[in-house]
Symmetry: D3
Subunit: 141 residues, 6 copies
């Protein structure tokens, strides 16, 4: 099931090939996963997305493993099965242990539960959580 054909290496436009080469070089692996083969029909979005992903997932203040775990958490909440599978695999490849994975899953479930409870009840944000709280007196409960 797909809305476009996945492009094999010999079906790539020259522009897409350049980006595939960079994916392979950056990841030091010959494997290019299906997402890029679907995006390759539009080299502009392929290139922009790859450049953004490289920048966002590059080593920074957060560990690469933690970055992948955040990616997994969002993908679960958005219900993207492909993204869940690919980024769970990446998180494991970057060192996520079974125990860490278990904690990740538990937090995502718990957050989903309290997210919906809060939304159901229409809870107002406490002044204490605001960056710019109103100056006028205490909370009114």
């Amino acid at each position: 099931m797909a809305t476009v054909k996945l492009l094999a290496d010999d079906e790539l436009s020259p522009e897409a090939r350049v980006i595939f080469d960079d994916i392979r070089r950056t990841r030091q692996s010959d494997f290019v996963n299906n997402f890029w083969r679907a995006l390759a029909h539009d080299p502009k979005t392929l290139g922009r997305t790859w450049d953004s992903l490289k920048q966002v997932m590059a080593p920074g203040a957060l560990e690469p493993k933690v970055k992948e775990m955040l990616y997994v958490a969002v993908s679960i909440a958005h219900g993207c099965s492909y993204c869940i599978h690919s980024h769970t695999a990446s998180a494991r490849a970057k060192g996520m242990t079974d125990q860490e994975y278990a904690e990740l899953i538990a937090i995502v479930g718990m957050a989903a539960e309290t997210n919906r409870l809060v939304t159901a009840l229409g809870v107002a944000v406490d002044d204490a959580f605001l960056v710019d709280p109103p100056k006028s007196g205490p909370q009114d409960f």
Copy 2:
């Protein structure tokens, strides 16, 4: 805007009071935020939710700060403004730096983008990402 009144301390049932006491003792703070004051109408869900949250967010393989950041990521994807504000405040209280926050936000946005691109294109999960890949030969592109 709320579907129930927030309960002040002197409006709590005895069952709810016991749980508020545990929240205060566990957090070593007198402050009890609005979420619990809305949930307090139903001591059973109040108690179960607090117990689960204590278990899930307790120190484990993941740092408390990282746990809060995962909570924030899910809350953003679910569009729960209250939860975003409260858990962003918690993540900061547990040591999240401005740089880490900036990276968190960037990952959530990036994941949202690729989640939707993948979903749009109907990309099939690569065998390489499966825990139990089919045995029958290489990927067919």
Copy 3:
């Protein structure tokens, strides 16, 4: 905050007025809530939506109270604050007790949690849950 002005009674087009009259007659109340005042700019969608809602929420196999509770559950999952408030009020007006409301909220939260756990883990649907299960032998775990 709105993307259109709410229309007062004396700002309605003749087509919209006819529908407002039917809303008032059907509900036996003079009160017309903001949703319809925002929709009234487009009498076609106003009329179609009102007709559909009347048909869907009419007495049927399910109690009116249960119908409103299902509406609330969906509105929470979609994060529509207005809809949560209006249908929670309707459910109460149709007899939902505090205990029933507490159970509704708890189920919505619990469903959100297991929904995300299942999605995270990529659990395959058991043959036992399929209307047309494959004929070829037992489940393979």
Copy 4:
């Protein structure tokens, strides 16, 4: 497609086995569905989730059938195919008729439609729907 292997009975840890025994005893059936077999890698989340589910779905003010229908409604809105299939099967097992199912589906669809219309238009919540309406005069439209 899964991010973990489903555990067969003879692959369970002693802690997970205890919970499977309780699932079987409580449901008076030998069948344990895939969700629990995926969760069983983490006995802590397995146990907590099962305990919560037992509490939330236990007979209460709402009929068991209605509870399952609310679960289905939320699962549809969250796009969890597994949960939709398993809880639709449960609702039927607990007495949901074809007519009730048809009404459930229609309400979920209708709610989705008006949820998005309201969100599109940014409709403000009517004072009449608020638990604590502002005291200062009539609505301003």
Copy 5:
């Protein structure tokens, strides 16, 4: 995977058959896709949905192609794989070019990203974007 059996032509109720006839006549094609075959168990919802769809997707101020592209965009954001496939096919049948499709996908991804960034940061709506801005002085940043 389905929660109901798809109905073949010779399994339709007389009421459902009338609607299938109208679908075929309106589309000038014998092909009736699976959605209608699943809905056909409930002729009331089948009829109401078909009537609404005919009205909403009829030629209007927007080109039919643009209407289908909007449908695709929403279906992606809701994660409905069936709807994505069927309406992407319809958009192509109504003239959507590969370039237009590439732009559609890129916009959906970009919107998802900024939607989540804005939600994460809790950005207040600028007065300039309000239909009824407050009269009292300039924005307070």
Copy 6:
């Protein structure tokens, strides 16, 4: 309500100032809306997001007005009130008429309804909608 302070012009870092200058030059307007003032704490994400947005929303095969309408549709489905307001204003500024807006809203609502109906029923994608349909015989209903 925000998780960061909105930055005024005289609070910008030199890197952020450069991007604000480009926003003003590109839009030929002195007005810089709150989204960019919130993002400005992180010049890297500010710059990347602005560059991507410029590329994605630039004149192309689709009219600028249609591009904004697609943005609005996605923002509604994601429940981002800020984005709905800002892009609805942009769509109007680029020529969206009241009639076109009414049709946009109606499509978004209709899509939401059928998205959820399809998801509820677990409808399988018709071979006719697949880019690479299986070769093995007709559909089996």
